[in-house]
């Protein structure tokens, strides 16, 4: 056996069974730079180091760019030879700009159709895939796959599907005797067509709903059944309330994303026909980099901030409305 140390009672620090109060030996003085951080401070430091790439990117490329664009919105500039401070003129210009208001109407119509339809569709698919099916994993993958495809590729595929002459959809409709509309070529059908395309990529929402559904305790449903609730009552009184945090999260993200729709309108319709698909982002892009060489970056920035204000307002409204319809089990909502 090795030496286990001086017996406790024999320690000069112990007197009468108590540990004597002593001044701890400070040890050799360490240079200030090598002073150890507390464990908490150390963890915080490493946390900041690890998130710093994102943080720096956010500060420079998001927050910095936003601040810069706010400044630009008070100027008339093409960044080359036209730089004039115009104050609020770009914002005033929006008031009389028919195309701006058209783009607002188009964007609201698109969002108004996309968000509820996407919510219902994704929830419906999630409910179906939440059943015990042999192929459920395969089906989940299939429904999620479109969400992985880039927006431009999706637009190109759907451009072919919706081709008024040789498109898949109109040919299918023709088989049942229906002469399909000019999906992307008519003012009436252009926005619904873009909505239809967006619904195809609802896999991410579906996945979140599925996760939410699987997180609902089965004992609650069993209790409801024991109490005599049928499937519909169980769904509306148990499942939906417990799913509202997921629904809330999805709706907020969908609203933000829908207001920013651009790629489909850019690729498939160019904003037409007759500006029927001129979304706000498409319009601000047009003012900035338009095919006619507008280079109106001040006005484009002002439109971007108007869009930001709209999205921000809707997000605040949704967050404020949580208390009325979102059920947080255990009251964890902040």
């Amino acid at each position: 056996m090795g030496h286990l140390g001086t017996p406790f009672t024999a320690s000069p620090l112990v007197k009468g069974g108590r540990v004597a109060k002593t001044t701890p030996y400070p040890g050799p003085e360490e240079p200030r730079s090598r002073r150890r951080l507390s464990q908490r401070a150390n963890e915080e430091l490493w946390a900041y180091i690890f998130i710093s790439p994102w943080l720096i990117g956010f500060v420079i490329f998001t927050a910095g760019a936003m601040t810069y664009s706010l400044g630009v919105s008070f100027w008339e500039t093409n960044f080359l030879n036209r730089n004039e401070f115009v104050g609020l003129a770009n914002y005033e210009r929006m008031i009389d700009d028919e195309l701006f208001w058209k783009s607002v109407r188009v964007t609201f119509l698109y969002t108004g159709l996309t968000v509820p339809l996407s919510t219902m569709l994704a929830l419906g698919i999630a409910l179906l895939l939440n059943q015990k099916l042999k192929l459920s994993s395969f089906l989940r993958t299939i429904y999620y796959l479109p969400a992985l495809v880039s927006g431009v590729a999706v637009a190109l595929v759907w451009g072919w599907v919706l081709d008024e002459t040789d498109g898949l959809l109109n040919n299918l409709l023709l088989l049942v005797g229906v002469n399909g509309p000019r999906w992307l070529g008519s003012e009436e059908w252009a926005v619904p067509s873009l909505v239809l395309i967006s619904l195809w990529g609802t896999g991410t929402n579906m996945l979140l709903y599925l996760a939410g559904l699987q997180g609902i305790p089965t004992e609650l449903k069993e209790a409801a059944r024991i109490d005599g609730a049928g499937p519909f009552r169980t769904f509306f009184n148990v499942t939906v309330p417990l799913l509202t945090p997921t629904i809330f999260f999805n709706v907020v993200l969908n609203v933000i994303g829908s207001f920013q729709v651009f790629d489909q309108a850019f690729v498939l319709t160019g904003g037409g026909p007759n500006n029927a698909t001129l979304t706000m982002v498409k319009y601000l892009y047009q003012r900035g980099f338009g095919e006619y060489g507008e280079f109106e970056f001040g006005y484009a920035s002002a439109i971007a901030w108007a869009l930001f204000a709209i999205i921000f307002s809707f997000t605040i409204i949704l967050i404020r409305s949580q208390s009325r319809w979102v059920h947080y089990e255990g009251g964890l909502r902040q």
């Binding site: 451009g159 081709d163 008024e164 498939l268 007759n274 095919e291 060489g293």
Partner: protein, 461 residues
């Protein structure tokens, strides 16, 4: 049967330039035009310039960058031993990155441009005025090898010359010989007018129920730069020649021209609208028309003179040929344009860039460019060899009646559309108005009166 241009054939065509410019070239030159009875007079050059020049091209095909790069690395260096040219492709949607690079002070020294592309950059003082350099280095004899209208097309009313000519484009009528034969329509020729044209387009259109499956024609009157020539063909003008702020396309002639096209596009759905062309991710411009013509979904196409692009898109699907665009009520107005080489005003090596531009608009490079793209050359001295160069590269074009392009270039009085005082703004307004008439289709042509008033007001604001 298509034989894509490769480096060897391009360089071979380029190598011929030496002969063309000296001995052999004089023979071909003499066969060409009366003005070119003598040798081509070169501009003053300074072959001792050195440096590195970036040249951004708008490619016509996938091989362009490599083939041109090799040309500049070899043939060009025989003349300019110390001048390196780096060829880079303009990215898709190139306006955005080009603007960004100008703002950053890092734009290419030379860029391929055309009037509407150059105008925004001219407004932003980013395009070098070449007029003083042309006056300095080109004598009248040296300029005589260019078609005068082509040089004029590079110059704004203010006198600023934004480019040196790169190639000529002329709007012609491409047609699918098989479809015309199947429909019992005679092949178009110089005698076609608006009535013959209309009858042919209707006869060629194939429908299934209310839906058009094959369009008889593609006449992009919905685009202002093409509509303007239609107005001229009906005897009107789009802008007052004495006052470029006054829109005049709302005249009776302008409305008649619009109505002729509106009926075919909206009522009959016999000619394409831009939505048809963009469906499937295409573009309403040349690419969309070309893709659908190549797929035999359009029987006739009024578009630019791009023989290689048509030959490659069609392959051996069907025989095709080219004819002059049919006349309107008042005759024929040939839409012609000339793309140019522009120099970025911020280039750090202006002298070297100017030498490259002079060379590129010269007969040597032009001859090589014909072999690569099939474009019509801007030099009279190259024209006599045009058909031979083209048919060597794409044998099927030997039967496509490309002589039409040469005839129109020499005798058809091709010209660009007139410009408004604030042309980009006018074009934007007019395009939107034409879209209401031709695409949405719920607006009668007398809307042009209101539209012309809007444009005039905007020009005078």
């Amino acid at each position: 049967m298509t034989r894509p241009v490769n480096r060897r054939s391009f360089l071979a065509a380029g190598a011929g330039l030496a002969a063309a410019a000296t001995v052999g070239g004089r023979t071909a030159f003499a066969q060409g035009t009366p003005e070119a009875a003598g040798a081509v007079v070169p501009p003053t050059t300074d072959t001792s310039v050195s440096g590195r020049i970036r040249y951004q091209i708008v490619p016509s095909g996938p091989n362009d960058v490599n083939v041109l790069q090799e040309f500049f690395d070899t043939t060009f260096r025989e003349t300019y031993a110390d001048l390196e040219v780096v060829v880079e492709p303009a990215p898709s949607g190139s306006g955005d990155p080009l603007l960004a690079s100008m703002v950053a002070g890092d734009a290419p020294d030379i860029i391929d441009t055309w009037t509407s592309r150059a105008t925004p950059y001219i407004d932003a003082d980013q395009i070098l005025d070449l007029k003083p350099l042309v006056d300095r280095d080109f004598s009248a004899d040296a300029l005589a090898d260019f078609f005068p209208w082509v040089l004029d097309a590079q110059t704004l009313e203010s006198g600023l010359q934004w480019g040196m000519p790169r190639y000529v484009n002329i709007i012609v009528l491409w047609y699918n010989r098989s479809m015309l034969e199947d429909a019992g329509v005679a092949e178009p020729d110089d005698s076609w007018n608006q009535d013959t044209y209309r009858d042919a387009v209707l006869a060629l259109t194939q429908k299934q129920g209310d839906r058009t499956r094959v369009y008889g024609g593609h006449i992009p009157a919905f685009a202002y730069n093409r509509f303007s020539h239609k107005v001229e063909q009906w005897g009107g003008r789009v802008v007052d020649p004495e006052d470029n702020t006054l829109a005049t396309f709302d005249s009776a002639e302008g409305q008649a021209a619009a109505e002729w096209h509106r009926q075919l596009m909206v009522d009959e759905q016999a000619i394409t609208d831009p939505q048809f062309l963009t469906t499937g991710g295409g573009t309403a411009g040349v690419a969309g028309a070309l893709a659908n013509f190549g797929a035999a979904r359009i029987a006739t196409v009024e578009e630019g003179f791009y023989p290689f692009a048509y030959a490659d898109a069609i392959g051996e699907n069907f025989p095709f040929a080219v004819a002059p665009p049919p006349a309107g009520l008042a005759g024929r107005s040939i839409s012609g344009s000339a793309d140019g080489f522009s120099i970025w005003a911020g280039t750090p090596n202006q002298d070297a860039a100017w030498e490259v531009v002079k060379y590129a608009s010269g007969p040597d490079f032009q001859r090589a460019l014909v072999g690569l793209t099939g474009y019509l050359p801007v030099r009279r001295s190259v024209l006599p060899d045009y058909l031979q160069i083209v048919s060597e590269s794409r044998p099927q074009l030997a039967e496509a009646n490309l002589q039409v392009g040469i005839d129109l270039l020499e005798n058809g009085d091709p010209h660009e559309r007139p410009l408004f005082a604030k042309d980009a703004e006018a074009e934007q307004l007019i395009d939107a108005g034409l879209e209401r008439i031709f695409v949405v289709g719920d607006t009668p042509v007398d809307y042009l009166v209101e539209l012309a008033a809007q444009v005039t007001e905007a020009m005078r604001a």
